[in-house]
Amino acid sequence: MTMRTAIGLVGTGLLAAFSALVAYAQDSSEPGGNLRFEGYPGAPEIQVVSRIDELFFYPCDECHATMEPNPDIRELDTFHDSEIDHGKGRIWCHSCHQLEDPNNLITLLDEPVGIDDAHIVCGGCHANREKDWYFGAHGKRLVNWQGERTVYNCTHCHNPHSPAIEPRAPKPAPPVRAGLEREPGAEHEHTPIWESHEVDDEP
């Protein structure tokens, strides 16, 4: 390697490092610039089913446009329930909803995201679940196993204000084989044999 190429290489390297630094400084100067989470490398492409049409109160600013944003934790006397069964008392409305523009959600980094990108907000705390969801080990895929992946968003199955899945009635149990009857216990409760059979007391 000649001296000239060596200097050239070092120079190029320095220049590249400098420009990267400038780019970083620019990014971090404007909030939300390049910080937004764009998914995991290698994760397959997914189509997320929109839920906006199913929301009764959406768009939020139909009411909230005329209201002053109020960050205080308080008893709500309007349509919304102030009991949030999520986060064990750690979170309040604007932990997830953007205070200034209530049509949006907000991440932990104060970036606004749309209602249909709720998984970005959920993933802020539930990162492991979110990763599983991106790769298909959590959540529900629709229609096909092959081809384009269409999945439900987190909030499709989990009510974000009370995310535990509600118990539901099971479908009917399988029939017992013809000619047989169910014994009164999977718990194996039998009457003692000396009670169910007549015992001849006389010797």
Partner: protein, 303 residues
């Protein structure tokens, strides 16, 4: 066999065929067990699925459609969708997500034209005490008001589509085999109903039709496959086939589609980017009765 023997065999076949065709022509139209005499006769001489030519299979499909039409007055579309290249199916169930609601069981009954009164159901959901994995202490007749019940967990069991299936080895007439895409199928027209396969299966996944399956004509699923969900006769063994009529066209199995919690994950084991491969690589998976060496393509995991 010697050449003379061959000749004799051929002559015998021609003779039998002659008799068959002659009788068929003679008895032409009147219904014969719900079928025309020709169809009944052709059914009788129908070969094993794997030995039929494409034309013969097409004729058999036509006969199946006509039989269902005569029996139920329903037009089904019985197909013979071939396996896809480079696809082997695998299934995984997240038992942390399963709530025991049996939606899968009943979606399967409808999808696969299972008899409504018979005891045949391909999926059994076992209820176990939390921390207990003794299958002998499980209960599949549980019927509480709401599931999941506190302190219980649920384990859906169906055909594991073993890669080394003991049922296939047990069949004396080779009416059951593993397809190239890994699905263990049954030729219901070749099955003699001996139930050896049921005895060989360690998962209680095979079921015998003691009676003719009772299907409400309105609820018959008309999207059928020869090796899958076409209406079956009495006296044959059947089992889960991963909804062969759906998955070979890229659709999900009916149980997966019905699952309200997304506990069921299905896909191609040969595709490194598939969900099932992600689960196998990143979750603690196990299989039922793994020590038997049947290599099920059906995994369970919890997270």
């Amino acid at each position: 066999m010697s050449k003379a023997g061959d000749k004799f065999d051929q002559a015998r076949r021609n003779f039998l065929r002659g008799i068959g065709l002659g009788t068929a022509a003679a008895v032409a139209q009147p219904a014969w067990g719900g079928q025309t005499f020709q169809d009944a006769l052709a059914d009788f001489f129908q070969k094993d699925y794997r030995r039929m030519s494409k034309e013969e299979i097409d004729e058999a499909l036509g006969r199946i459609e006509r039989r269902v039409k005569a029996q139920y007055d329903v037009d089904i579309d019985c197909q013979n969708t071939p396996p896809q290249e480079n696809v082997v199916y695998g299934y995984a169930i997240n038992i942390s997500r399963c709530i025991g609601c049996r939606y899968c069981v009943h979606a399967c009954v409808k999808e696969n034209n299972l008899g409504r009164d018979s005891q045949v159901q391909y999926i059994r959901v076992l209820e176990l005490d939390q921390g207990n994995f003794n299958l002998e202490q499980s209960d599949h007749y549980y019927d509480p008001e709401k599931v999941p019940v506190e302190g219980k967990h649920y384990l859906p069991v169906q055909c594991m589509q073993c890669d080394d299936p003991p049922c296939v080895k047990a069949c004396p007439v080779e009416a059951t085999w593993m397809e190239p895409d890994g699905i263990v199928v049954v030729d219901y027209d070749w099955c003699i109903g001996c139930r050896y396969c049921m005895a060989a299966c360690p998962y209680w996944a095979r079921h015998f039709n003691w009676t003719t399956p009772e299907l409400p004509a309105k609820e018959i699923n008309t999207n059928c496959h020869y090796l899958g969900n076409r209406p079956r006769p009495r006296g044959v063994v059947e089992k889960c086939h991963f909804c062969i009529h759906r998955v070979r066209k890229g659709q999900q199995p009916a149980c997966m589609e019905a699952c309200p919690t997304g506990a069921r994950i299905f896909g191609n084991l040969l595709d490194p980017d598939s969900e099932i491969r992600y689960v196998l690589a990143n979750k603690q998976v196990f299989r039922l009765k793994e020590d038997l060496g049947t290599e099920p393509k059906f995994w369970y995991f919890s997270d």
